[in-house]
């Protein structure tokens, strides 16, 4: 057991963000019940679903604003969560439990080979949660070592994951300029001058350069959200997460925010968007996910997703939303 596990299903370079087997429990409430999803570079994923289905939690798990109960999240080859041994067959195969069960089964059925039982044993170990019960400290140590190998401080990772919130969450104690320059300057990614120059550029792009020195309380909802988006862009993220960016806006202002998001999508930004805007999903998404009851019930390109949904629950949902 001294040797490290080798993760065969190691991080695939073509994926920017990989979520596997995500579970999230709030006290006794299961919000997410095993979500797996991969986001490739440049992809625009739109997540839709009824309220309380866990789609926001799913998004917030991606940058660890919520800590998942089980499951792994990979971002650019880095592991954000502890290693979940159940997700890696190589790890399970190396465990004592696996070998014990295998020898038992082989002595019972001498005519069969080890491969025949492989799937069965892995399933059984997962189902009965045997690793936690039976494995000792050496196993845990190896898993931990493996984790350390891929571990990166979450604060460093988050710099590359932009996030836009439903309620904008602009810093009320800072001006628009302060909001935009705080993180890049504090984290020493840019000097103050560079950051201010970039901020003005971005503000010009959204036509709000005259608002640079005002406090957020004087802005309209649409303006706030657009500034929240460019604030996230100041960090030059590799992926942008949008948590219902238009849900708290007046209907009038939804357009301007969606327009900016579309512009952003056109620049090739990787995006994961939780939204109720079906029009946006149809137009921009490269894939649409339907999340309900904590699992992904349907996953398809927008054309297929809206034209002929397969899942019953999705059909019902779409019939209510698309009138």
């Amino acid at each position: 057991m001294k040797d490290n596990f080798e993760i065969k299903e190691k991080f695939d370079e073509s994926y920017l963000l990989k979520v596997s087997g995500l579970f999230k429990k709030f006290d006794k409430l299961d919000v997410l019940k095993g979500i797996s999803c991969e986001v490739k570079k440049g992809e625009k994923i739109v997540v839709i679903g009824p309220s309380g289905s866990g789609k926001s939690t799913f998004l917030r798990c991606m940058n660890l604003l919520e800590t998942p109960t089980f499951g792994e999240i990979w971002f650019e080859g880095k592991l954000l969560t502890p290693v979940d041994p159940y997700l890696h067959k190589t790890i399970i195969r190396k465990s004592k439990t696996y070998n014990k069960i295998l020898t038992e089964l082989l002595t019972a059925n001498p005519d069969k080979s080890a491969e025949d039982f492989d799937e069965e044993i892995i399933e059984r170990i997962k189902k009965e949660d045997l690793l936690k019960k039976n494995e000792g400290s050496t196993f845990n140590k190896s898993v931990k070592e493996l984790y350390n190998q891929f571990f990166q401080n979450i604060n460093v990772t988050r710099q590359k994951i932009g996030m836009v919130f439903q309620h904008f969450n602009l810093f009320n104690n800072l001006t628009v300029m302060g909001n935009m320059t705080l993180a890049p300057v504090k984290l020493k990614l840019k000097t103050k001058e560079e950051a201010e120059k970039r901020a003005i550029e971005l503000l010009k792009r959204i036509g709000l350069e005259d608002k640079a020195n005002v406090y957020p309380s004087t802005l309209s909802g649409g303006q706030k959200q657009r500034i929240a988006i460019v604030r996230a862009l100041m960090m030059e993220p590799d992926v942008m997460l949008f948590d219902e960016p238009t849900s708290a806006l007046d209907p009038e202002m939804v357009g301007e925010v969606l327009e900016l998001m579309k512009e952003l999508a056109d620049t090739g930004m990787t995006m994961v968007v939780v939204t109720h805007e079906m029009g946006f999903a149809k137009e921009v998404a490269s894939r649409v996910l339907f999340v309900d009851e904590g699992i992904i019930k349907e996953e398809a390109p927008p054309k297929e997703f809206f034209a002929n949904p397969k899942n019953e629950r999705l059909k019902e949902f779409l019939s209510k939303v698309l009138i």
């Binding site: 940058n63 604003l65 604060n155 460093v156 990772t157 988050r158 710099q159 994951i161 932009g162 996030m163 919130f165 309620h167 969450n169 602009l170 810093f171 009320n172 104690n173 800072l174 705080l182 993180a183 504090k186 984290l187 406090y215 309380s217 004087t218 929240a228 604030r231 996230a232 960090m235």
Partner: protein
């Protein structure tokens, strides 16, 4: 003897007026009052400093305890601290500190100041905690999502907003502290020592043979008015700070 039974309207007030004149005309009385006033100020300011620093630390530890396992034990200690300090009379704490914990000759006044500081810290910590919790959770989340650490987000984003909400409550606590310091007479009232505060001064004036005052009430009222002056000055300072802080909102 008969004079005592003559009750004239406003006779008492007239006597008090006479006393006030006596007190302010007498240089010894003025000296006591000035010394008491000064000592009260010193005790309050030092205790307030201790209280604010302690309260701030305790509040942060308590909040951090909800965030990480590492801070669990310090969090429990802080909880015990606020429970015990807020749950027992300050007079008891004062006597305990000055006669048992710091039973060192000459150290009594400092032990007393420390007691007031520690006592105030418990109340201040709860005020600060409430102020921090009054800031929308999204503010911290937005900071964290940009890659700022918990500490940096706290210092740069949450605290500046919390302070605005904390100031009125802190002002309240400081005013209460100022008047609470008057119980320092329990552990000493020697002229010249730090324990000789405004309240002690008023008593000393009454009992002094060289100052012919008629009633204790007058002495107490004079001291009371001086307390009021300090409190009013504090209120003005608090208002000024508040106005400064609120400016950033517009």
């Amino acid at each position: 003897m008969e004079e005592r039974y003559v009750v004239l309207p406003f006779y008492g007030l007239w006597k008090m007026f006479q006393d006030i004149i006596t007190i302010f005309a007498n240089s010894e009385a003025r000296g006591y009052l000035f010394q008491g006033f000064w000592h009260t100020l010193v005790i309050t300011v030092v205790a307030a400093m201790i209280g604010l620093v302690l309260g701030f630390i305790v509040a942060l530890v308590k909040i951090a305890a909800t965030q990480s396992k590492l801070m669990k034990i310090p969090g429990v200690i802080c909880n015990i601290y606020t429970t015990v300090i807020r749950g027992t009379p300050v007079a008891l704490q004062l006597v305990l500190m000055c006669t048992a914990i710091f039973a060192i000759r000459g150290f009594t006044p400092y032990a007393a100041v420390l007691t007031f500081g520690i006592n105030s810290g418990a109340y201040v910590s709860e005020n600060i905690r409430a102020g921090i919790y009054s800031v929308d959770k999204g503010q911290l989340e937005a900071g964290r999502a940009l890659g700022l650490s918990w500490g940096k987000s706290m210092v740069k984003i949450v605290m500046p907003q919390a302070i605005k909400n904390i100031i009125p409550a802190i002002g309240n606590e400081m005013i209460a502290l100022l008047k609470e310091t008057s119980i320092i007479q329990m552990v000493g009232s020697t002229i010249g020592a730090l324990t000789f505060d405004l309240n002690v001064a008023s008593t000393t004036i009454y009992y002094s043979k060289n100052i012919p005052v008629n009633s204790y009430v007058t002495c107490a009222i004079v001291a009371g008015v001086m307390y009021l002056v300090v409190v009013y000055a504090m209120v003005l300072i608090i208002k000024l700070i508040e106005r400064r802080l609120r400016k950033s909102e517009r």
